[in-house]
Amino acid sequence: MSALPRTVAPLPLFLKVHWSDRIAHAGLVLAALVLFVFLVLPLGAILVKSVQDKAGDFVGLANFTGYFRTPALARSIWNSVWVSTLVTAITIPLAFTFAYALTRSCMRFKALVRNVALVPILAPSLLAAISFIFWFGNQGLLKGVLMGAQIYGAPGIVISLVFATFPHALMILATALSLTDARLYEAADALGTGTLRKFWTITVPGAKYGLISAAMVVFTYALSDFGIPKVIGGNFNMLATDIFKLVIGQQDFSKGAVVGIILLLPVAVTFIADSWVQKRQSALLSARSVPYVPRPSRGFDWAMTAYCLLVAAIFLAVLGMAVYASFVKLWPYNFSMSLDHYRTGLVEAGVFDAYLNSVSLGAWCAVVGAAFIFAVAYLLEKTRSLDGLRPVVRLMAVLPMGVPGMVLGLGYIFFFVREDNPLHFLYGTMGILVVNTIVHYYTSSHLTAVTALKQIDNEFESVSASLKVPFWRTFFRVTVPVCLPSVLDISRYLFVNAMTTVSAVVFLYSPKTTLASVAIVNLDEAGDIGAAAAMATLIVATSAAVCLVYYFLQVWLDRRTQAWRG
């Protein structure tokens, strides 16, 4: 009954655009513009700078060849690579065992050890380095254990990085292990499969993508972390510290740009590999599965409890040492407790402003960042047309994950320092720190928002349109309330990271906008490690308090909304 003759080529047909949809389009264009200006252009500035000399003339690859001819600099590449590899090789098995204990055993104290193991997220990575100096440094309590060896340099960097990266790996691995289908194990049991064989044929393959993903996160973190090698690295040079020295110390922007690009390469590779893994992973999990419930097994559960408690004890020792040292009057001569480091080292030295700046940065990021990121994710996922622009915005939203903070910060200086840039007025303000931090931590926040949005019915917008209700009404009346838990998650994540980050902002602060985490670097450099520990303690305490506030906010929200969440 196809009565009509086929036309040769169908005419392209477009719907007229309703004015309310134009607002959505304008929003999306604006978002694209913001991400382009504050992400792509600064990165482009690094590329440009890397092929210019100090006077700004084009010199081709001369900066690169110059870099590789400097043995000390070229050695940093090797240092960065082997340290990161070693950290990955240590952290992943430790974290996997821990995650395995949490998900597959009936051990006790699960919640306790889990929370302790996640504590490093609340602290700047520097805290571990400072703490290990107090334990094993020249005046450390356990210096004797090293039998003459030095903690400064590679050993200190490696163990500090293990501490700092552990929770990141743990979260990924615990998720991967908790997603296995119990029926696979039941089938294996029915076939009389041994425990070890089940582990290698079901558990490990099931967690394969989680393992790859976690390894890449750890490797990238280690490769691009600045605070730890700065504090405990001594003369051991890595790429991240080289950038800082070249740019801030020697004002050699061109070589700094070269290091930035070198740092971008391996991270870009892991980033691409990771997005490949993510795609595979989601395909793997689309099937409906039965959650695995571990069965008690006396010896195994005891072993796992012992292991986790040991790890938790070490973590508490690391954290506790920084806190303890911040109260010690004069290390290592007078171990009496005092608030001297807080009072003299921070408040009277005028460094306390840095702490207030950090809190204010955190608050701004938590509010502005969460609102912007969620709104952009909404426009991307739930509005229609502008099909050419959407993939571009999506790409820009996941790009920051592949950009180390040091590189992003470097790009920001190159881009905003130029006086002919109309946005130059941002340079040296709190504004640039806020924008930089939001962009730096954009990707995870964006993915959280997208996940939340994907879980709500896709037809809300269609229903609204049929009822002649403009989209923003539904956005504020339905979408935001339904997604509020995720918005709070994003907001908390941005707050905590703004409190603890060092890498990008170390290039961007001005005397008026020094941040707490940067102040730790400066205090440590000035030899005032007690005050540095005090500042680190303040940051951890604040992050923890902020998390508690958000926790109570969630509880309150759950209570208010439980009527409709059902």
Partner: protein, 352 residues
């Protein structure tokens, strides 16, 4: 003139032709059903009418107004999705009033309208509840109330019952039909469930691969399918290759049957013979009954209100099926291996 007229609607997704030039009219006050297997283009057609997809070519006229290029906000319809799409954080009353608030309707008038609609869908006491506190069927009725609240000119139902369990589905199908007739709103229902379509619709539009196969009343579609696809999709059929012999007679294997041969069929050309299992008679059949033959029973399936017999006729390779009533079963008691005399009345034997 029809209330809604679609002319030459085409839709391409890349190289895939989802709709290949569909034309049809929806009459004032009728419930018309787009029926077809998944991928036939029925949902795409509905979404094009709603303005949620854009057709590659073709025009849509609703109530004399060309809406082909209007965005959804400028069209006049209410829509109900399979997922209900009720706003979870709003009460039932707020859900229903969602489109009314925007029309600056005064609060008392709004409350009255909500009450009226809740009574219409038979849930007068659920105004203060949240969607999660209602059953699936109740949620679907609230979704219909919300779609009707603004008194749209057209109601679109996209697989509205597919997410419900079988018993609720059967009950709700009658309720929706009753509601639609009381309101008198022209309605398009998309479904893949032919029983649902037959029981609810004034007219069916059977679709396949982006084209309309047949439009007609449920009875026409069932009794006079115009293509083998329709015959097979709407109910169980026996389809046999046949050769016309002229004089309204066809040859199937070694058997000859009397039937109504399509006048277009040329003598000797290949035909397909079609009859429904319930058209097979066993009672009062003897050697002189037209189209009678000895059947060898292969299998008997007890299906409750009737039983399905699989049998073979001498000289025909293909197994055939017959549905026998409980009375017939009691009288003839066919078992596998038995021989039974069966017949199909000539007026029930159709050809394509």
């Amino acid at each position: 003139m029809d209330f809604l007229e679609l002319t030459g609607i085409r839709k391409e997704f890349g190289d895939f032709q989802a709709l290949k030039g569909v034309s049809l009219g929806v009459r004032q006050g009728e419930l018309i059903c787009f029926l077809g297997p998944s991928g036939c283009g029925k949902t795409t057609l509905l979404r094009i009418i709603a303005g949620l997809e854009v057709q590659s070519a073709g025009t849509i006229i609703q109530a004399g107004r060309d809406i082909s290029r209007l965005p959804p906000m400028k069209r006049d319809y209410g829509i109900v999705f399979q997922s209900y799409a009720l706003f979870p954080n709003l009460s039932v009353a707020d859900n229903i009033a969602y489109g009314l608030v925007n029309r600056r309707m005064p609060r008392p008038a709004r409350a009255a309208r909500v009450k009226e609609l809740l009574e219409l869908v038979g849930l007068p006491d659920s105004a203060g509840k949240y969607p999660s506190q209602l059953s699936g069927g109740q949620q679907q009725r609230i979704a219909i109330a919300r779609a009707l609240a603004t008194s749209p000119g057209l109601l679109l139902l996209d697989e509205p019952l597919s997410a419900l369990d079988a018993r609720v589905r059967v009950r709700l199908r009658g309720e929706i039909r009753g509601l639609q007739q009381r309101v008198g709103i022209p309605t398009i229902l998309v479904t893949h469930d032919q029983e649902e379509a037959r029981s609810m619709a004034d007219r069916l539009v059977v679709m396949k691969d982006g084209e309309i196969e047949q439009i007609g009343s449920p009875h026409e579609i069932y009794a006079r399918p115009s293509t083998p696809f329709v015959a097979d999709f709407v109910g169980k059929t026996n389809l046999l290759p046949a050769t016309p012999l002229g004089d309204n007679r066809v040859q199937v294997g070694e058997q000859r049957f009397q039937c109504t041969v399509n006048s277009a069929a040329v003598k000797g050309a290949a035909l397909r013979l079609f009859f429904r299992p319930e058209d097979v008679m066993v009672r009062g059949v003897n050697g002189s009954t037209p189209n009678s033959a000895a059947a060898v029973v292969e299998k008997v399936e007890y299906l409750g209100p009737y039983s399905r017999i699989t049998f073979r006729l001498n000289g025909i390779d293909q197994p055939l099926v017959a549905d026998l009533s409980l009375n017939d079963m009691a009288e003839f008691q066919p078992k596998a291996g038995d021989t039974l005399r069966v017949a199909v009345p000539p007026e029930r034997l159709l050809t394509f």
